[in-house]
Symmetry: D2
Subunit: 369 residues, 4 copies
């Protein structure tokens, strides 16, 4: 058995470049990004903003699928600019989605049809477009483009709100007209993170207008993320009831999302808190003859949790600022005053952001063996 | 010239093991630990607690010198147990200091004579002992041992106060008698950090009794620190007026110390603040046509500064929790409301600890180009 | 000055993905592949076989330029299949060359127009095509396609002669008709190496028919070579009088080439020998009072030279099989019988291949200091 | 269960430096050096030449045990200089052996008592000394020292024969008197390798006088081998019938040894050939419809085998010089002329050295699936 596999790989390597050197690197569905599911929901790692040669990207749609599989994503949306394409390439906004969908066949990567709409003064992504070739999406009046996307039953979000070019000379895209789009739910989400970009103002706006939080790559070039140790693509975490396009749509409309960018999680307390708890395994015992509780915290996730202790207890082997490292076991010595059967550690998790300037606070219950 | 060096190295490598394979790896004085000096003082990296075969360590004193040079230390104290030695080894507490001192000759590593005194219920290190063979250091009455060390004009500090064995069954070494030693300055310092150990209670005690803060390795085995990327020995930072034993003694008596353990600095505001500022180079400019200040912060030190933003300004490309990485340039986009010629970033530096539960807070002045 | 650069980079990173995330990673011309020039010639690292979306590749031509610059190549030929293109992409064989050429502007990367011709029973690359859209290149009679390429004054070589599919059921493409193409110089070169493929039979044929040796990537997918430490693309080394398309054409016609694949060089003695010598710096001195010559060999190239000693001298610190490591200094102790002012080391360099089963042999002159 | 282990480790880490920071890193007997056993014999990795503070080394004997276990050795001999010790250390040649033996208790590391005898003009190691304190080992007449060691029933070998100091001014230790020691088997082995040193002349002598081949570290300093990726200590491979001191003694007297230094094995054909074969797993199949045999060679050992093909077959995907990499699978395409059910690959394994200037040659049988 193993023998046959071996040879088929070997022969494949030797002959593959006659036809194509692009191979699906990881079609087993193994999540390369290790984050736990949370009670009631699957945690899906999604990138809802990618380009290919069919707008201003530089790769064939198959590459986007291969990259997504290699990076352990659960879903991508193909979001070409609907108003623009290269002259050397066919004018058909649906084709890149179809090529990607065919490439993903046999894997469990979800491909979502979408498009990017340049509705002055800014850009918007529309997901689940029934027909990305619909001419109304290119209407001469920008606001009608968003209306057209809404008519498709799609989910529309504001792209890269921190794009500085728009803010030059005192301008702001957040006009009264713009706010109306948010108020009437024509626009239902916002990219707080776009690639490496992050805008605290966008998070403020999201909370003010109750928008779904999104973090996407907006990738145009080749993705080399997986070759940089510890690096990952900026993704939207979608808390879905099922791993499907429909599951994602429901979650987006219900605003069940958070963002994973760098070593940060950004999102509502209701999702970040279970993500933190589900990442951990705890064990605790008293040091013999003492009231020092040794608390062993195993973190099975990819995230280093940067913590501050706000409990009344002094630590025996750590300062109040400590890190629960990814894929490691951290042992805290906690000096409690008598041998309590259980107690709580009040913590702030600095890199879990719930609002501008505000990190997640919680109490970690410790039950002694 | 270079040629000759090359060959002498080559030949040395080939023949060295006839006599000794231990070579001084780094006698150029290059500091392997990169921390800046601060205004008025040199920042010396010191380990005041090491053992060799002359008490219960497992290496010859020359190895301690070679390790210290390779790890970029500025000073070590040889601190054998004064009351105990191996039967296979001569009973002379001064010899290990002398062997180390001879080995260090020609380098600028400072070797300090010292000893560890087991004065029940705990251990103390005495530095600058005139005669570590003084029989009074082994007096049958423990308190007299410390008195003997004081009589030498030495500097005495409490070792590993977090050693759990002492706290069993409700005991504490911090008796009234013990407090008197602190009050009358018989004991002038305390190891808040010993190896990987850290005790918040010790820091509390240090502040209460105005003790010098110490962090040492207490190494008995071989030091492999330099082979683990990013790792360094726990050291006492001494802010000295000159690089000498005398400069160190003055600084210790004057309590000009801090501790560098893992990714933490522990010490008084007056030393941590300049360490932070001297580690950084700033440049700042407004993004053309906008009120977004791009602040470039270059960190030339080995320490990652884990920061929290407490300014009224929103960040353009970062959450309020961000890291100024070691030996890197971090660029912050700060949204100020109008083009101020200068402003201040109010920050908390989480991993710079000034008291139990308390991190360094400061204002970073930004002057625009 | 430096400041300005810093900020322009920073701003570029933050805003670039609005337009394109593909940036030229290395346009300084720094050769990432470190091989020396040889007396009279520049050593150019060339890949004469690459595909883009304009035939069956998966990237836009700009990506090929960025990859080539990042990998330190001096020249690439864009060689789309002339008979075939994707239906979604314009039918114009010249466009991918033009896009690549424009992308390379300002760098010193040479872009060569070419095409791949599927002239049954095999494939051929034609470089320097005047018009890759010439319909004669798609003639229904395969032999006429090669004739058409020859008419362009191009350089034609046989691609991936080791492609096993062709050899099935006892077939061979090396028919009498085929041999005539080699004899009459319609086909002037041969890919002994294609990607990771290598065919000893091709080298045999090359020597028999006096063909230029070529080693190319035939890349269709994304190039990730630079992310795998120690890996490089298979390239044709062209020994040119000037760094230009013309210089390359002259060298190819004159068969001044070798191949660099993995840790092997494959080529004629007249090029491999100077490549070896120019990679090295030697110094030598007698160990005082002995007849042992310490020969220090510094290898400034990327290649590990795997050597066998065939001299009458015994080695003092090495077996007869030894490695002159890339970017390292190797010191050999050679036991000569009396203090000769100079001598020769007879060596075989196993990984420098001059014919099937035959490695480069040479004498390395050692002059004592 | 796991829980308890976890805590005992944690607590150990926190408290260990009170007593000793030296912990046995690897007492499971897992061989860190991966070399196969050969038919009829265990392959034991042994270092028969180490020093501690009890002669001119710089570590306590326990460190030698810890290092050996961490590096995956099966046996070490403690070989202090019998005539010399440090004044600060007790004059008892047996103590370092006893300390090491006690440290190794509970592991399966074999500790052998020995000593180094400086019998002018050179040094010799004697293993299995009944009493290393025997005054006759320090006899004023050097030759009597070796005689004394022989009287112990020990195994005596010549140390570092390549030590250049001895060869100054035309001298050689290989006098007629010396040859007599070899002839009459007073000296039964020779260090062809000592640390990084290698002397082809020693190998020549070993073959001439039928001496056991030894390769040892002669370590005086700390061993940092395990921190340098791919590096290992120079060891004597002993082909023993049982893992014990007795098994080793029998093998040494029977000259069942080879040497593993760097990427080389040095030894008799009868041991190197089975080491090579036992390292490999082969599978082979014909590429469908062709006469190309794909031979998959899995190398489970730590050694990269540098091979030259001397078969009449041309390779399909490799030059004649190729590497069967350690812990990897190498696939060779071999062009046989018709579909033979089996064939042989005639190879030279360059880095397996059987005599000065001579590498192992063998035929690798390939049986097709």
């Amino acid at each position: 058995m193993k023998k046959q596999t071996l040879f088929s790989v070997a022969i494949c390597l030797i002959t593959s470049n006659i036809f194509s050197q692009t191979v699906i690197l990881n079609n087993t569905g193994t999540p390369e990004i290790q984050l736990p599911d949370i009670p009631g929901y699957l945690t899906m790692k999604c990138d809802f903003h990618v380009h290919t040669v069919f707008s201003d990207g530089v790769v064939w749609p198959t590459v986007r699928v291969d990259e997504a599989l290699a990076e352990g994503l659960d879903a991508i949306a193909i979001t070409e600019h609907v108003e623009w394409h290269r002259v050397e390439v066919i004018d058909d906004n649906r084709i890149s989605y179809e090529i990607a969908r065919d490439r993903a066949e046999g894997s469990d990567l979800v491909i979502i049809p979408g498009g990017e709409i340049s509705a002055s003064p800014d850009h918007f992504n529309a997901l689940f477009l029934e027909d990305p070739n619909d001419r109304k999406l290119k209407d001469t009046i920008p606001a009608r483009r968003i209306a057209a996307a809404n008519a498709h039953g799609g989910f529309v979000f504001w792209n890269h709100p921190g794009w500085t070019a728009k803010y030059k000379n005192g301008n702001t895209p957040v006009t009264e007209e713009f706010k109306n789009l948010l108020r009437d739910e024509s626009v239902q989400g916002i990219e707080v993170c776009n690639g490496n970009g992050y805008w605290e103002g966008a998070l403020k706006l999201a909370l003010e207008y109750d928008l779904a939080l999104l973090g996407n790559s907006d990738i145009h070039g080749v993705s080399y993320n997986r070759f940089e140790p510890g690096k990952h693509r900026t993704v939207t975490l979608v808390f879905a009831k099922e791993k499907s396009a429909e599951g994602i749509r429901d979650a987006l409309l219900d605003k069940r999302t958070a963002i994973y960018q760098g070593d940060h999680l950004i999102g509502p307390v209701e999702f970040l808190k279970p993500l933190f708890f589900e990442s951990l395994e705890l064990e605790a015992t008293y040091r013999e003859g003492t009231t020092i509780a040794y608390v062993s915290i195993t973190n099975n996730s990819d995230i280093n949790f940067y913590c501050g202790n706000r409990s009344p207890f002094l630590f025996y082997n750590s300062t109040h600022f400590f890190t629960i490292k990814a894929h490691s076991t951290t042992i805290l010595g906690v000096k409690v005053n008598k041998n309590l059967p259980e107690f709580e550690l009040d913590l702030v998790i600095h890199n879990l952001v719930v609002a501008p300037g505000e990190s997640l606070e919680l109490s970690l219950p410790v039950i002694m063996d």
